[in-house]
Amino acid sequence: MATEALLAFANDEQKTRWLPKLASGELIATFALTEAPGAASAEATKLAFKDELLTGTKAPVPDAGCAQLLITTAKDAAGQLLLCGCELDQSAVNITPVRTLDFTRKHNMVTFNNACAETLSNAVDWSHIEALLDRAAVLFAWEQIGVADKALETACDYAKQRYAFGRAIGSYQAIKHKLAGMYVKNTLARSNAYFGAWALASNSEQLPLAAATARVAAIQASLLATQENIQTHGGMGYTWEFDCQFYYRRAKLLSLAIGSERHWQDRLVSGLEQQHAIDLKRKRS
C-alpha cells in the first residue's frame, strides 16, 4: 500500500527519491492507517502534522520494525487530512512491538514525538484513502484465497488418508460436503477476485464494486476454509505441530487488516448504488 500511495500522491521529487530504492529492495516502506479500535476514518485520524513534524500514535502497523519509510494518514492544524512520509530512523520515532493473533507477521505501535516528516500531497480527502484501500482489497483478496486454497487442499489430503470406523473420513458426507462447501466458496471468491484484478488492471470505473465484492468473498471463504480445515483434522489439527493454525491465524489477520467484512459489505452496496446511478445516467443520455 505504501508504494501505491507514493505512486498516486507523491510529487516527482519524492517519487525520484523513494520509488527506485523501493523497487530495488534497498528501501522498505510500510503504511499506517489506524490509531484506535474501530474503523479507520477521517474523524478517527488524530496524528498531528505541524511545522513538518508528526505527533501521535499509529497501531497496529505491519512490519514497522524493519521498514525505513512509513506512509501514514495524518491531519494538519486546520483538521485537513494528509498523507505523510516519515523516515523511521530518527530518535523522535519510537517503535514497540505489538503481538497479534498471527505471530508470523510482525506488527508495531509507532509513536511520533515531533518526528520529521513531509506531506505527499496537500489535498487528500477520505475518498482518496478509500481508493487506495480498493486497490489493496484486490491484492489482499488474492492472498486470502491463497490461504483458503491451501487450507482446503490440506484438509482434503488429510480426509483421504485418515481412517475412522473402518473407512477414510473423507468418505463421510459430513466431511465431504463440508469440503465441497469450502471448494464452492473458494471458487466463487476466485472468480470475483479475477474480476477485481481485471478492474484494477484496467482502472475500471467498476473497481470500487469489484474490489468490495472480491474482498467480502475472500474474507468469507478464507475464514470458513481455515476453521473447517482444523475441524477436519480433529485433535491433531489443534496441535502446535500441524500447519492448520497458521492458516487460521493468517486468515483472521487478513480479514481485519484493511476493514472488516461488515465494512466492505457496506462499501459493496455503495458500489452497487453507484453502478446503478451510472447505468441510469447512460440510459437517459
Binding site: 466463487l188 459489505q265 452497487l272
Partner: protein, 403 residues
C-alpha cells in the same frame, strides 16, 4: 480471461444485435398466441435467418459458431424477452446426445427439425423409485424381433404433454449390476401405449408429467449406443444438462432487492440505508457476481476446447438456494405485504413470491443440492465415494425398503 470483447467478438456482437433488432418478435405478431406457438414462431425465424443453434454444424441447421460466440449471442438475445425454455432440453441436452451416439442418417432426420423448432423433445430418465438414484430405473425394454417392447413408468418429465419425441433410458437386464443393465432409445411420443399425465406442483402449476408405457414398440434402429450402454448415453445428456440449466429465467435477485429496498422505509429512512439490509444484499451479490464470473471462466475453458466438467455443478448448487433465500428476504422487506400474491394487489410482479415457491423445485430438479455436493466432493476434490449398498450386485437384489 478478459471481461471485454476482442475486436472479432465485438464485430460478431454487432452483427447479432443488428439481426435481432430487425427480426425480434413484435407484440403484434404474438398477440393471441400460446407461449409454445410464440416459441415455435421465434425459433423458426432464427432458423431461417441462420441464427438457430449457432454452435451446431451447418448441415444440421447451425453455423458452427465458437463457444464465445454462443455466449455473445445468448447475451444479446437475452436483452429481448423472447421465449426459449421449450427448446432447452431438446437442443441443449438431447441433441448433443444424438450427435454423440447416433448415426449420421438419424442426425439428419432429427436435428434440423429440432433446430427449427418444428419438433419438441423430452427426456425420459427419472422414475418414482429412482429420484436421486437415477440408475435405479425399472422401466423394461424387451427384445421382440427387430423391435423392443417398453413397459413401465417415468416421472418428472417436462414437456411430455406436447413433445413429439423422447429420449428414453430403459432396463434391459436386471440380472447385472445397476449401471450395466441399461439401454437408451429415441421414441415417438405419439406411439400407441404412451400415456401422459400432468403432475400438479405445489405452486398449483404443472410443468412436469408422469409418462406411462404399455407395450410400446420401438425399432431397434432407434437405439442409441449398444445394448447395456444406456448409462453412458445418459451421462452425455446429464453433462450437457449442467450447462443448459443454471440461469433459470427471471427470478428474485439483487436488482429486485435493491429496487424494493429503495422504495420501502425502515424507521423513516429508505431500507437500502439500513446496515443489516446492506449486509444481506452484499452477501447475495457476492454469490451472483461469483456465479457470473465463474460462468465466464467456464466459457473460457470451453473455448479452449475443454469438456464441461463437474465443476459446472456449482451454478445450480449455489443459485437455487440463493434464489430461495433472496426471495424470502425480498418478502421480508415488504413486511406484512410480502405475503400478498395476487394479480390485483401484488407489487413487483409477484417475482419474490413466485421465486420463493419455485426455488424448492430448482433445488431438486436435475440433481438435488445433496447430489450436486457429492459430485463436487468426489469428482472435483477426489474424495472417496460413499459406501455403496448397491455396488456390484444384481439390480434385482438391491435393497429398496419395500418400495
Amino acid at each position: 480471461m478478459d471481461f471485454n470483447d476482442t475486436p472479432e467478438e465485438a464485430l460478431f456482437r454487432a452483427e447479432a444485435a443488428e439481426w435481432l433488432k430487425a427480426n425480434a418478435l413484435t407484440a403484434e405478431e404474438t398477440r393471441g398466441l400460446t407461449p409454445l406457438a410464440v416459441a415455435k414462431l421465434w425459433q423458426k425465424r432464427k432458423y431461417d435467418g441462420g441464427w438457430a443453434c449457432i454452435g451446431w454444424d451447418k448441415q444440421y441447421g447451425g453455423r458452427g459458431a465458437s463457444a464465445i460466440e454462443r455466449v455473445i449471442w445468448d447475451q444479446e438475445e437475452g436483452k429481448y424477452n423472447l421465449p426459449a425454455r421449450f427448446f432447452v432440453i431438446g437442443q441443449g441436452m438431447i441433441a448433443p446426445t444424438i450427435m454423440a451416439w447416433s448415426s449420421p442418417e438419424l442426425c439428419q432426420q432429427f436435428l434440423p427439425k429440432l433446430a427449427s423448432g418444428e419438433e419438441v423433445w423430452c427426456q425420459l430418465f427419472s422414475e418414482p423409485a429412482g429420484g436421486s438414484d437415477l440408475a435405479a430405473l425399472r422401466t423394461k425394454a424387451e427384445p421382440h424381433g427387430d423391435e423392443w417392447v417398453i413397459n413401465g413408468q417415468k416421472i418428472w418429465t417436462s414437456q411430455a404433454h406436447y413433445a413429439d419425441y423422447g429420449l428414453l433410458i430403459t432396463r434391459t437386464d436386471p440380472s447385472v449390476p445397476k449401471h450395466a443393465g441399461l439401454t437408451a432409445f429415441m421414441i415417438d411420443m405419439k406411439a400407441p401405449g404412451v400415456e401422459v399425465k400432468p403432475i400438479k406442483q405445489l405452486t398449483g402449476e404443472s410443468d412436469f408429467n408422469e409418462v406411462y408405457f404399455t407395450n410400446v414398440r420401438v425399432s431397434d434402429a432407434w437405439r442409441l449406443g449398444e445394448v447395456g450402454q444406456g448409462w453412458q448415453v445418459s451421462l452425455t445428456t446429464l453433462m450437457n444438462e449442467r450447462l443448459a440449466i443454471g440461469g433459470g429465467g427471471p427470478g428474485a435477485d439483487v436488482d429486485l432487492a435493491i429496487k424494493i429496498a429503495q422504495q420501502i422505509q425502515i424507521n423513516g429512512r429508505p431500507a437500502i440505508e439500513d446496515s443489516a439490509v446492506r449486509a444481506r444484499i452484499a452477501d447475495y451479490y457476492v454469490l451472483e457476481a461469483g456465479l457470473k464470473y465463474n460462468s465466464y471462466r467456464a466459457m473460457s475453458a470451453l473455448s479452449r476446447g475443454e469438456l464441461p466438467g463437474p465443476e459446472n455443478s456449482i451454478g445450480k448448487l449455489v443459485g437455487a438456494p440463493k434464489l430461495q433465500s433472496i426471495a424470502s428476504f425480498c418478502m421480508d422487506l415488504l413486511e406484512n405485504y410480502g405475503a400478498v400474491w395476487d394479480d390485483d394487489h401484488d407489487l413487483y410482479d409477484g417475482l419474490a413470491q413466485r421465486s420463493y415457491m419455485g426455488a424448492p423445485g430448482l433445488r431438486i430438479a436435475g440433481g438435488t443440492d445433496e447430489i450436486m455436493t457429492n459430485i463436487i466432493a468426489e469428482r472435483v476434490l477426489g474424495l472417496p465415494q460413499d459406501p455403496r449398498a448397491d455396488k456390484g450386485i444384481p439390480f434385482s437384489d438391491v435393497p429398496t425398503g419395500g418400495q
